[in-house]
């Protein structure tokens, strides 16, 4: 069977993960990754009740914590990388603010349409280039980590990796829950699950869906301490491509500001910005979107358009 992914939004107040399982079918054990829940990882009673079938949690968060505890060199390497990633994010933010502010001003101003259009496009291009530059820096940081990690002998980690890979290989279905997107992505990377998950049937919601994509964008238009610019965090596993996934977009985005949404959408083009709210479902098989319900794409003029099946 071809690899397939079903992307969902938040599972509260009404869960639709069971509907997604019924849509893809399931032959073999079901495993779940709840590493994004951090300390609450493994508390899957509600999920089991919802699905009505046995589910095994891979416990990647806690397994990773155990490995770091036993392997101080690896822990040191990881913490060095995390420091570097944080610093890169800080530097990126410093450049992003004025670049985005210029694009925003140009999108709000009025004037000769012909002259303005060119300047607006150029300003958005600059934001896009900055996002891409940041992403390249992040990817290079991960590559450097991987290269140094390869040269280290870490038997504990290798044995644990093998066990996790075996569990995933034997699974008929992999579920990836939401939560802290950076922590989740970190654990998926640590156990090198990208290649393996790309061959499986995966149902992922919220941060889980973001982690499957090729670019993770953090966003919130109603942050309590005022407006914050959406920012690129990292490259995801790249199993789902060409979509910027926006969980909880109904609450997080300013739907009454078409100019703001237009800039958001044009900034991340050619990828399409897809909402994943409670009840949303996007079904992808062999890289092609085969079904979509209750999900919307933000158009370049800042409107909300139902994400259509092909």
């Amino acid at each position: 069977m071809a690899a397939q992914q079903v992307l969902l939004g938040p599972q509260t107040p009404v869960a639709n993960v069971r509907r997604a399982v019924e849509a893809v079918g399931c032959e073999g054990p079901v495993v779940v990754i709840t590493a994004g829940w951090r300390d609450s990882e493994g508390e899957i009673d509600e999920l089991q009740d919802e699905l009505g079938i046995p589910v095994e949690d891979l416990m990647l968060y806690h397994r990773a914590e155990d490995i770091y505890l036993r392997e101080p060199k690896l822990r040191e390497l990881k913490s060095e990388r995390q420091d570097k990633l944080r610093e890169l994010q800080r530097l990126y933010r410093m450049r992003l603010k004025p670049t985005l502010s210029a694009a925003r001003d140009l999108c709000r101003t009025t004037g000769d349409p012909e002259l303005l259009r060119l300047e607006q496009n150029e300003a958005i291009l600059q934001v896009r280039e900055l996002d891409q530059h940041h992403l390249r820096r992040i990817v290079a940081c991960h590559q450097d980590y991987d290269a140094r990690r390869k040269s280290m002998e870490i038997p504990t980690a290798s044995a644990e990796h093998e066990r996790v890979h075996k569990q995933v290989k034997n699974a008929g279905l992999v579920l990836i829950a939401g939560g802290h997107v950076a922590v989740l992505l970190n654990r998926l990377r640590m156990f090198r699950l990208g290649g393996l998950l790309a061959q499986k049937t995966v149902i992922a919601w919220s941060a889980g869906a973001m982690a499957l994509s090729d670019r993770i964008v953090l966003f919130h238009h109603h942050a309590p301490q005022g407006k914050v610019d959406a920012e690129v965090l990292d490259a995801g596993l790249g199993i789902v491509n060409g979509k910027v996934l926006l969980p909880g977009a109904k609450q997080r985005l300013s739907w009454n500001s078409s100019k703001r949404l237009s800039l958001f959408s044009r900034r991340f083009a050619p990828a399409s910005c897809c909402t994943l709210d409670n009840g949303s479902m996007i079904h992808i098989r062999a890289g092609k979107q085969v079904k979509a319900s209750n999900s919307f794409v933000i158009t370049h003029d800042g409107r909300r358009l139902a994400l259509a099946a092909p």
Partner: protein, 378 residues
């Protein structure tokens, strides 16, 4: 005068039925972008608007509307303002304070209820209202055998939804905590902000003093109670993050003084202070005029102003511009900033009351204890 009232009186004094229709067809007070008109209906010798706005007289007479039992008063009111009031009715030589019977919006405090005037553009924040989707935290009781106060003290502890002993939480100690629960909907606010990931799941200890006019005015016993009795007990009983930036003190009015004083006795033990309309009375010259209760407050604040030092990492302060304490609060801000502490000072078009303090909680709590909403997508 308000246009609706002018229309009512256009052809002379209105009939009873017209007045009834006017009363039933409008919401009171009558709110316009920059004005508000209060209306009272009853036989009386005199009617006054009693309001608690610093800078304006406490009482303002209302105008009797000719040939009717209506009284009205129009006053300027900047947009998004809010204040509390009552009517004072003078009849046959007797004076009586009454709520505005035409206005359903009321606020409560330990002294009773007041009518609330919500100016043009004011809207009660949605995060202060019960949200059925928010998971609710719980309240537990804790008793302390206090050596400092030589007696038992009861503390309520808010535990967030899905509280787990295996996790560690930030701690906030709230002065006048039960009042914050009753009059500022603190539990609802905490449930909502935690649910929205705007603040982290946290434990909140709610203290109440039986003698706040003494204990909250710079009493060293209170500081010792907080620093050497309550905090150690909470640390023993609850899974708390052992870092000063994960510990906070909060209070309003004299509760703000109690926080600032405790923080001065134990500098940096609490990294975060949330001070609302703090009664930070001081005197630059001569004696203060605030009465003997404020003597210890003035001694403490004067002392701190003379020799200021770092109290915490971050201090959020708020104050209503319709309360006299705005002067004291504004005066304190640059002094605190100069010590290198991060200060966030917010002024509100409101006065010295619990709903003002309620409406500022989101800004204060999310600034001091930012939640994981930027990174968490559940």
């Amino acid at each position: 005068m308000n246009a609706l009232i002018e229309k009512l009186f256009r052809d002379g004094p209105p009939q009873a039925a017209e007045i009834e229709a006017f009363i039933n067809g409008n919401t009171f007070p009558l709110v316009e972008p920059d004005h508000v008109t209060f209306v009272f209906r009853s036989l009386a010798d005199e009617v006054l608007l009693r309001r608690w706005i610093s800078g304006l007289s406490t009482s303002q007479p209302m105008q009797s509307l000719e040939g009717t039992d209506l009284w009205a008063l129009t006053m300027d009111l900047p947009r998004k303002s809010r204040f509390e009031y009552k009517f004072e009715i003078v009849h046959n030589g007797a004076r009586e304070l009454q709520l505005d019977g035409l206005n359903k919006v009321q606020a409560n405090d330990p002294f009773g209820a007041n009518s609330v005037c919500q100016g043009y553009g004011y809207k009660r924040p949605d995060w202060t209202l019960h949200d059925p989707e928010s998971r609710t935290g719980s309240l537990a009781e804790l008793a302390i055998d206090s050596q400092v106060f030589e007696g038992r003290r009861d503390v309520q502890v808010y535990l967030p939804a899905r509280f787990k002993r295996s996790r560690n939480y930030p701690l906030l100690i709230v002065h006048d905590g039960p009042d914050y629960l009753h009059y500022a909907d603190l539990k609802t606010v905490l449930d909502n902000l935690i649910h929205r990931l705007e603040i982290p799941a946290m434990c909140v200890a709610l203290t109440q003093s039986p003698d706040r006019l003494v204990e909250y005015t710079g009493d060293p016993r209170h500081a010792r109670f907080i620093g050497e009795e309550l905090l150690p007990l909470l640390t023993e009983k609850l899974p708390l993050i052992d870092r000063s930036n994960a510990r906070g003190l909060m209070g309003a009015s004299l509760g703000g003084v109690a926080c600032l004083h405790a923080a001065s006795v134990y500098p940096k033990l609490f990294g975060q202070l949330l001070l609302q309309s703090g009664s930070f009375a001081f005197s630059d010259l001569g004696q203060h005029q605030k009465g003997p209760i404020f003597d210890p407050v003035v001694r403490f604040v004067n002392g701190y102003r003379k020799k200021p030092f770092v109290l915490a990492d971050k201090i959020y302060m708020s104050c209503g511009i319709y309360e006299s304490l705005i002067y004291e609060n504004r005066s304190l801000v640059p002094l605190l900033q100069k010590q290198g502490m991060q200060i966030n000072f917010e002024e509100a078009r409101d006065a010295h009351n619990w709903e003002n303090w309620r409406d500022r909680l989101r800004n204060g709590l999310t600034w001091l204890f930012p939640g994981p909403l930027w990174m968490v997508y559940e």
